[in-house]
């Protein structure tokens, strides 16, 4: 059974169609990335998946439980971190976590134990009894995450969890997501950060203008939208453009202090470039072959958004 099965979701706000026939199938155990440019419909889709918004059309099932017909039962399986990680600023870190734990029916001993575990893992154990209003944005986001995972949910949904965070907070957040997944939670996250999705996600959907435009593993998407390969090379001393001709080389252009050599066969191109360097008595400072990137796929799919 799929953890999330959303079919044909549609949502209009006045004349604007924010989400237009989105279907998503998230398998158990996946870290599923939901990518798209600003205004593509990511947050509206997440709000429908989490039961915050009722779709105009379509259905959402969490482990087979319809979230529109049985919202309480479906939401019991989730931990949600909304965009901007909202928390109660007038409560302490502990009170925020306990409040959510109580809603999920945890007893006092379990709440105490779990809060200690999570706050330690998220580097906030010393601030446990402090009011959240005194916290930085990164710390508030960590409390938001702590509240969402206090009941060890089988499904964790995060809406842009690392946006605007410092490096340390971002690292902690991503590590927590990985740890939750290792412990068996399925994760669905939206992000602007393509590199983050590339390294974290097992599956990805890209949404643009309210519609899903691609779905698959990061590697599959990269391959599908491979825009061509190149080799970046830099020499000690000047090199002429006319050097970059011959075996497997399509064209070359100067970028900063290096040359970008476009090719359809990087292995052959590298060998050929090494021969040129030896023949012309040029010392190679650096050489690197490109791989197709998820960012290239994303840009192609969302061009003009």
């Amino acid at each position: 059974m799929e953890m999330i099965e959303a079919k044909n979701l549609r949502k209009k706000f006045g004349p604007v169609t924010a989400v237009d026939g989105v279907s998503i199938s998230v398998p158990e155990g996946a870290i599923y990335g939901f990518l798209g440019p600003n205004g593509a419909g990511k947050t509206t889709t997440i709000r429908m998946l989490t039961g915050v918004l009722t779709p105009d059309e379509g259905s959402v099932k969490i482990r087979g439980v319809d979230i529109i017909e049985n919202p309480l039962e479906a939401k019991m399986m989730m931990g949600v971190i909304p965009e901007n990680g909202t928390v109660y600023a007038d409560l302490t870190a502990e009170q925020n976590i306990f409040l959510i734990g109580k809603i999920y029916g945890m007893d006092k001993a379990s709440r105490e134990k779990r809060a200690t575990e999570i706050l330690t893992a998220l580097g906030l154990s010393e601030r446990r009894y402090d009011l959240v209003r005194t916290f930085s944005k990164g710390m508030r986001q960590r409390i938001s995450i702590a509240s969402a995972i206090v009941h060890s949910p089988p499904l964790l949904i995060l809406d842009e969890p690392t946006t605007g965070l410092d490096v340390y907070s971002r690292h902690l957040v991503l590590e927590t997501v990985r740890e939750m997944n290792r412990r068996g939670s399925t994760v669905l996250l939206t992000t602007h950060n393509i590199e983050e999705a590339n390294t974290l996600c097992t599956d990805i959907s890209i949404i643009n203008k309210g519609k899903i435009v691609a779905t698959g593993s990061p590697e599959k998407l990269k391959k599908t939208f491979d825009t061509g390969r190149y080799v970046d090379i830099s020499f000690e001393g000047p090199a002429r453009e006319t050097l970059f001709e011959g075996d497997g080389i399509l064209r070359a252009e100067r970028i900063g202090d290096k040359w970008r050599v476009y090719t359809d066969d990087p292995d052959r191109a590298v060998k050929h470039l090494a021969e040129i360097a030896e023949r012309e008595h040029l010392t190679i400072v650096s050489i690197a072959t490109s791989n197709p990137t998820l960012e290239e796929a994303f840009v192609q799919l969302t061009a003009g958004a």
């Binding site: 919202p71 939401k75 909304p82 909202t86 007038d90 409040l99 109580k102 809603i103 999920y104």
Partner: protein, 248 residues
């Protein structure tokens, strides 16, 4: 629907509201200071019969306290974005509305009970029917807390907008509720006007409880209050649901 989850979520919302909102400035000013200032303004130095006017004062106290929490919660939480977060938890609309309503009602009951006990001890006030007094406390607090929740429903994330609207609605109700002029002395259009205010029926119920001299039978007062409670809750739910569907 799993009623265990429903009740648990509702009670946690009540607890959250009590922790966060009972001591917020607008609640203290509009819920506690305002009725006391009104009382001193109208009663001190005018040689009025406190026993005769106490039911009106107690009704006013319950009215201000119970209706002061609700208007703050929703706009405050919309501003802090915690309102939307609540909906991603095992919580439905009814949990939030009942949770907000109960927090307001409890605040009203607690404060007004303290005022009643202190006043009774100091002024040796009579009590003709304790059951009617308890009924008045429960129905009045729930009715005015529901009014507070309804007043919080229009779209805004600025609590001061709602507090202004709330004062605009609540203040006139005070003056058309038979608090300052006994209902038995009203006639014609004045009587029609007072019939439109829910506070009228509570004050009448308190008169029955304290002095046994109400204008309407107790079941009429109680029945009208129950109908008004249901109407307030219904409209609060409709408006808030409509706003959420529109994403505001």
């Amino acid at each position: 629907m799993d009623w265990n989850i429903f009740l648990r979520s509702t009670m946690v919302i009540v607890e959250k509201n009590m922790r966060i909102y009972y001591f917020k400035g607008p609640v203290v000013v509009f819920g506690l200071l305002f009725p006391l200032i009104m009382f001193f303004t109208f009663f001190i130095g005018r040689n009025l019969d406190l026993v005769l006017f106490f039911p009106g004062f107690l009704g006013m106290m319950l009215f201000f306290t119970a209706s002061s929490v609700g208007p703050l919660i929703t706009p405050w939480e919309k501003r802090e974005r915690t309102y939307e977060r609540l909906f991603s938890l095992p919580v439905i609309f009814e949990c939030i509305i009942i949770g907000d309503l109960l927090a307001g009602a409890l605040f009203g009951i607690i404060i007004t009970t303290i005022v009643w006990i202190v006043s009774t001890l100091l002024l040796h006030l009579p009590l003709a029917n304790a059951g009617l007094l308890a009924l008045g406390f429960v129905l009045g607090s729930v009715c005015f807390a529901a009014l507070g929740t309804l007043l919080a429903s229009p779209t805004t994330n600025n609590p001061s907008n709602i507090m202004m609207l709330s004062s605009l609605v609540r203040l006139p109700l005070i003056f058309v509720s038979g608090i300052f002029i006994p209902l038995s002395q009203l006639g014609g259009w004045e009587w029609i006007l007072t019939s439109l205010s829910p506070l009228t029926y509570l004050v009448d119920l308190f008169h029955a409880a304290f002095n046994g001299d109400a204008v309407y039978p107790a079941y009429v007062d109680a029945g009208v209050l129950v109908i008004i409670i249901l109407l307030f809750i219904y409209f609060a739910k409709i408006i808030q649901q409509h706003n959420l569907v529109k994403g505001i």
